[in-house]
Symmetry: T
Subunit: 69 residues, 12 copies
Amino acid sequence: MSNNVYSVTEIVGSSETSISDAIQTAIAKADKSLRNLEWFEVGQIRGWIKEGKVGHYQVTLKLGFKYDK
Amino acid sequence: MSNNVYSVTEIVGSSETSISDAIQTAIAKADKSLRNLEWFEVGQIRGWIKEGKVGHYQVTLKLGFKYDK
Amino acid sequence: MSNNVYSVTEIVGSSETSISDAIQTAIAKADKSLRNLEWFEVGQIRGWIKEGKVGHYQVTLKLGFKYDK
Amino acid sequence: MSNNVYSVTEIVGSSETSISDAIQTAIAKADKSLRNLEWFEVGQIRGWIKEGKVGHYQVTLKLGFKYDK
Amino acid sequence: MSNNVYSVTEIVGSSETSISDAIQTAIAKADKSLRNLEWFEVGQIRGWIKEGKVGHYQVTLKLGFKYDK
Amino acid sequence: MSNNVYSVTEIVGSSETSISDAIQTAIAKADKSLRNLEWFEVGQIRGWIKEGKVGHYQVTLKLGFKYDK
Amino acid sequence: MSNNVYSVTEIVGSSETSISDAIQTAIAKADKSLRNLEWFEVGQIRGWIKEGKVGHYQVTLKLGFKYDK
Amino acid sequence: MSNNVYSVTEIVGSSETSISDAIQTAIAKADKSLRNLEWFEVGQIRGWIKEGKVGHYQVTLKLGFKYDK
Amino acid sequence: MSNNVYSVTEIVGSSETSISDAIQTAIAKADKSLRNLEWFEVGQIRGWIKEGKVGHYQVTLKLGFKYDK
Amino acid sequence: MSNNVYSVTEIVGSSETSISDAIQTAIAKADKSLRNLEWFEVGQIRGWIKEGKVGHYQVTLKLGFKYDK
Amino acid sequence: MSNNVYSVTEIVGSSETSISDAIQTAIAKADKSLRNLEWFEVGQIRGWIKEGKVGHYQVTLKLGFKYDK
Amino acid sequence: MSNNVYSVTEIVGSSETSISDAIQTAIAKADKSLRNLEWFEVGQIRGWIKEGKVGHYQVTLKLGFKYDK
């Protein structure tokens, strides 16, 4: 990993079921257009409330991937 | 949403099973006394340890609701 | 001011026109139910975009007022 | 403590004598209207100067109490 | 909004007249190349001084838009 | 708890399945060498991506335990 | 700019009319005694409330200027 | 206070006896050269240890005073 | 001090009487097992409330000591 | 610079020799695909250890460039 | 790396010559007592001044190593 | 050091060659007008890019010196 350059992008995933699922949703989507995704960091965890329950979670992630433009 | 004023309150939910359940517990409780809960933000996630395992999780949330006093 | 106790509450004001107007909107609303508002601190400034322009601003404030319950 | 929900409120106490006294003043006042106060966290410590000395201290606290509305 | 993924990009707008105008300038420019801009968050507000007055403001924003690559 | 001194140590747990499992893994491991673990606080949540999915989560915790050296 | 040393000073401007005006007031005052003011960064935005409205805004700035003592 | 400009300076006071005394020491010293000291904010509290006890406390303060150059 | 390496450890002291006493308690305890304690930094100040008063203070410290393993 | 809009991107450079070299590596790589790079800000400095020495440094940067899409 | 638990320790290295050398000094010292050092993160960079020059640098690091007690 | 009061000032040094050189440049300049400089803390590290390389580094420092006005 020592000579590489990585790019970091910020993305928000959402899910009605769980925080982990919101993370997976974001990564799966990003994987379609960004090659070589390597790591993620969770930023903010938030969500919307619907009828007194969590309507859906929103998780902000930073994604790191190899910079090979 | 453009002309509204919202109030933000801080609450701590706990659960023996998961982080998500602690969030749901806090929102369900707050929903009994606060009308129009709209969003939440997770602050600190912490917990207590019992016999070498998570005894229970404690999640601090900010809750936003329409200010209509 | 030396012997007083103050309470601090968090509120979000919004406005289609400016950041300052969002602040004024929040304070005017809070003033209807909280006596003795004395100071404010701006937290987050954010907003929603509509057709390539600012739809409305949302400003999070902390409001301090004399605690006299 | 495992099934409880707690509420967190922010308050500012002041004292001419010490930081600790400002904390005590705030808690004593809050105790008159909030049942079941359990913990506090010190936020900002500041104060006003009078004739080259501390006129009074102001300490911002978060107070946690059992949510039983 | 529950099943969507959003992307977040950082941008700096500037204006000789006001903070709000710097925000508008940045959003208008970004709107030309990014579809579905939905929200913004103000980061740093700074600027350059010219002859003892504000020469221009620079406002750093995060912009959220629907991720549909 | 009033006369005790606690020590705080930092640890990183990982899991292929969930954030909560990464927390449990870390606590279980620490429990083998540290007596009297009492609380934890979640710091950073991050992870590694493998074939477009979460490969494993990594959760940084602070652990508090009674200082009885 | 490459060989210069800059000094940074902190100042608080106030205004009854707007955040921008508070910034201008502070810079105009500092310009009377500090030569070569070059940039500013906004820190905290706060203010005092009077009769349910913003009495005046207070904006904390850092000011950078060429160090030529 | 509405039309004034304030300057903010940073100072570190120390004391062998207490945190409050370190604050008083710093303010008393600053008062000899800065006119119109009005407020302070505590930043970092730290100190040096001597023979297993607090040797002295060091408290970093910001001091605000009327800018009248 | 120029060629040394220091280790930093985190500890929580508590006291029923004051913040300073909680600091002293933590340092006295750590001094029994760690040689060459040199400095401390105060992190969080918090506490527990008992019958409308401070039951005890809890102060989190970082302690620096010469690394001579 | 007064009427421009800038974009900010995040990148991680690495180097076996020094922090400065990791910064240069990242900027050189980004310069191949981004026109008009103007400034950088260092975020996190970290690295990997190999046989008791720094294996390589990793430096996270924000890069600002003129937005001319 | 997926099933491992890591421990994180904080250390301060110093050097009269450079920031990088202070990092190397700390890691070399820690490597003598901690097996399996894997990564580091730079916290605070500071130092002491001697006769108008840097006397020595002090760099605070977090070090991660495999937890195998 | 126990009875002293220190003042802290903020300064920005720049250098075309390295981060350390930018620190030295700032300290050397400050040493001409401030007596008794004792310590420094690095704040932000940033810089300007010229033809795809670092044009110059800019390092923000806090400088502590004995307060003897």
